[in-house]
Amino acid sequence: MTPARNGLTVWTPLPPERNGIADYSAILLGGLAAHYDCRVACDDWLGLTPAGIAVVDPALAHRGAGPRVLHQIGNNPGHGFVLHGLRGMPGVTTLHDPGLLYLHETMGAAGATIRAGMAAALPGLAAVYGRQHREHGIQTRANHLLFDLAGEVLARSRAVVVHSAYARNRLRLVHGPAATAHVAVIPHFVPPGALPDRAAARARLGLPQDGFLVLTAGFATAVKRFDWLIEALALAIGQGAALRWIHAGAERPEEYALGAAIAARPAVAARAHVTGYLDEAALDDHIAAADLLVNLRFPSGGESSGSLARAFAAGTCCMVSDTAAYAELPRDAVLHLPLTGSVGLLAEALCAMAAEPARAAAIGALGRRHAEAEMALPAVAARYRDVIEESLGRPVAPDAPREVVSTLVLEAGPRLLARDLEAVLAGRRGPCRLLLAVPDLAALADLTLDRPGLLGDLLPLAARLVSVRVEAAPRPGLLLDLDLGGAA
């Protein structure tokens, strides 16, 4: 008789959603199935899973769920339901990107919730950025780098998995050692099974067998530094480098106008091609066909790259930015591009590699050896199992209460300060009612006339004023309905 196996509910997007984490999860499930009876909570009920693994409606995932739960969270709108699931069914959470500000924004999180998360992470900086956010609606790229809004995930997870020591250290610096003691590093895996043969892949793609091919992959965003690459390509081509460049992925003009940037460099445009979004097989063909995968990031928040893992598996030489998690890769297994003088150095490297492709092939072989030793799927799945099992007894922070609390009262004299309100509201989340009490309505009139913009000065950044009304009885004053945001 076969012994009963433990169940595992995995909250994640799934293919065919165009989301790298969906692809990651579909492959990881194949590895986890060696240890658990898996099921997937996914808001696409028709999502694709490996054979034998069922999809369950997230709204019903609590029925029949055991204690073993795994959440896969990335920083884009496709993961909103996973964050909701984490609030109801705590478990182990993989943070593919330590920064979750964009996710919260696209989920429609209240501004107060976002500012509360900013203040929880970096209170000093949040005082400035939060005020700009509240009063002028300013949300810059800097906000996304500075404020990760990962506090809720850390507090509500029995363990947190990240893919690099950089990501763990960054969380630790922001949230402190106690809040991050349960963060474990599990590297990204390489996809199981052999990637296509280089020659066969080139034949399928209609590419010549002997040309030097530079590849970039994924959604084209500004942090992938296509500006550096295009300039370096122009320099290299100008110096006689024989190469072509393919971007195997889709353009997001609202984030980075890749097509326009290429068109502005006719020498590059003559040797460049953007494929648009590719399915997994076509992406594998392009990666296997390439001589060099350029996988730059600046700035980097510690995110991982599925394309990089595929390139390792294919034995394709990889060039990464010498920053964040990419700096942790072995120096002999990838090419590290410094963050200063990047364009010139990149052009030099392109010229050298194009002139002697065997050097790229040799580095690619070392990259594959590294991946086979450290990033094999069975080993990664076993590490997930260990983290899940060790986390079972760890308590999580209770969900923030959302009900309206009874009215708080603060005496509002002429010397009322912002820190007085901050003290009264400290530690509170969600809806809150506060009476700024005055002796009589005449005193209230005096107070508001003497101090124009009174509430703007007094309210903490994390507080959103929902409504205000003048109360004459039982106690005169200003009755404020506030939203103090949730945990984030």
């Binding site: 009920w45 069922a54 999809v55 369950v56 409606d57 709204a59 019903l60 609590h62 029925r63 109801g88």
Partner: protein, 319 residues
């Protein structure tokens, strides 16, 4: 566990105008068999948050009434006796498992009828005016289930008569009178009893509900007998708890593309369903195993490229 289905079928004939509020969730065994009945939960505080969040999604009928007990504003209006909150005629019939919860006292004080499951002799009589009692025995001779109907004394006789009259045709439709032991008597002016017990295998009436009679989680409401899906790609239906038995679940659909076939789900998990044409409509059907202790949730998912505007004409559970 077929008693709820049989007794609900009899009561529908005896109280055709009644507004029914079944407070049996998280199971809810009567409302599936009574189209138009509202469902609710007697003790919402005891419900796990995730189950409460699930049930809070559902709306019923053209007014989009929520599940009783999970919507503070609607509950307050209901307990205050607001006609629109009730969604039907007074007095309502309240269905409870065991003793009536204190939260229902305002409705009971105002004279609501009560359908109670369990050994009601051990329970305190409900508040409000004196009521007559009809003891209802259902199920089979080997497994008898007891319910009590508490109603205004003046109505006991007429309701008793209508239930008795309804029992024979129902038996005839469910395998014939020889398959059933049917009896009933008036013990005293305010006490009567009716029994309808299966002699062999418990028989159930087929469950057939028009789309608009189902509690659903669509953002819009039904205006006609069917439930229009509009542009929605996913639909959940709160079915209630049905007797445990192998059966077929069928959704009758119109306006779907069979080449982009929908997925059928029960309690969140996809069923091995087949789609077959029936006239200009389509039947999406799958064998299911039902459980009597928890409200079933049926799901329908259309592929992203499926055309909008499909209609759910009805739901059936049967052989």
């Amino acid at each position: 566990m077929s008693a709820a289905a049989i007794l609900a079928s009899l009561l529908r004939e005896a109280l055709p105008e009644a507004t029914v509020l079944d407070f049996g969730l998280p199971a809810g065994r009567v409302f599936p068999w009574w189209p138009g009945a509202r469902c609710g939960i007697a003790d919402p505080a005891a419900l796990p948050p995730a189950e409460a969040a699930l049930l809070r999604r559902f709306r019923l009928g053209p007014a989009g009434l929520p599940v009783c007990g999970l919507d503070a504003a609607a509950d307050a209006a209901l307990l205050a006796g607001a006609p629109a909150a009730l969604g039907g005629v007074w007095p309502p019939l309240l269905v409870v498992e065991g003793a009536a919860p204190a939260a229902l006292t305002p409705l009971l004080d105002a004279g609501a009828m009560l359908l109670q499951h369990g050994l009601t002799e051990a329970m305190a009589p409900p508040p409000g005016p004196p009521r007559g009692r009809i003891m209802l025995l259902g199920g089979s001779v080997s497994r008898i289930e007891r319910w009590d109907l508490l109603l205004p004394a003046a109505q006991l006789g007429p309701v008793f008569g209508r239930m008795q009259a309804a029992a024979q045709p129902l038996a005839a439709a469910l395998g014939g009178a020889a398959q059933w032991q049917i009896g009933g008597r008036t013990v005293m002016e305010q006490l009567a009893s009716i029994g309808m017990l299966a002699l062999g295998t418990e028989q159930l009436p087929p469950l057939r509900l028009p789309g608009a009679a189902l509690a659903h989680d669509l953002p819009h409401l039904a205006a006609g007998p069917e439930l229009p899906l509009g542009t929605a790609r996913r639909l959940r239906l709160l079915l209630g708890a049905l007797p445990a038995r192998p059966a077929w679940l069928r959704l009758r659909l119109r306006g779907i593309d069979p080449d982009l076939g929908p997925g059928l789900f029960l309690d969140g998990l996809r069923l091995d369903a087949q789609l077959r044409p029936e006239g200009r409509d389509w039947l999406l059907e799958a064998p299911v195993g039902l459980r009597p202790d928890r409200a079933a949730v049926v799901g329908l998912a259309l592929p992203e490229r499926a055309p909008p505007g499909a209609l759910l004409l009805g739901l059936e559970v049967g052989p």
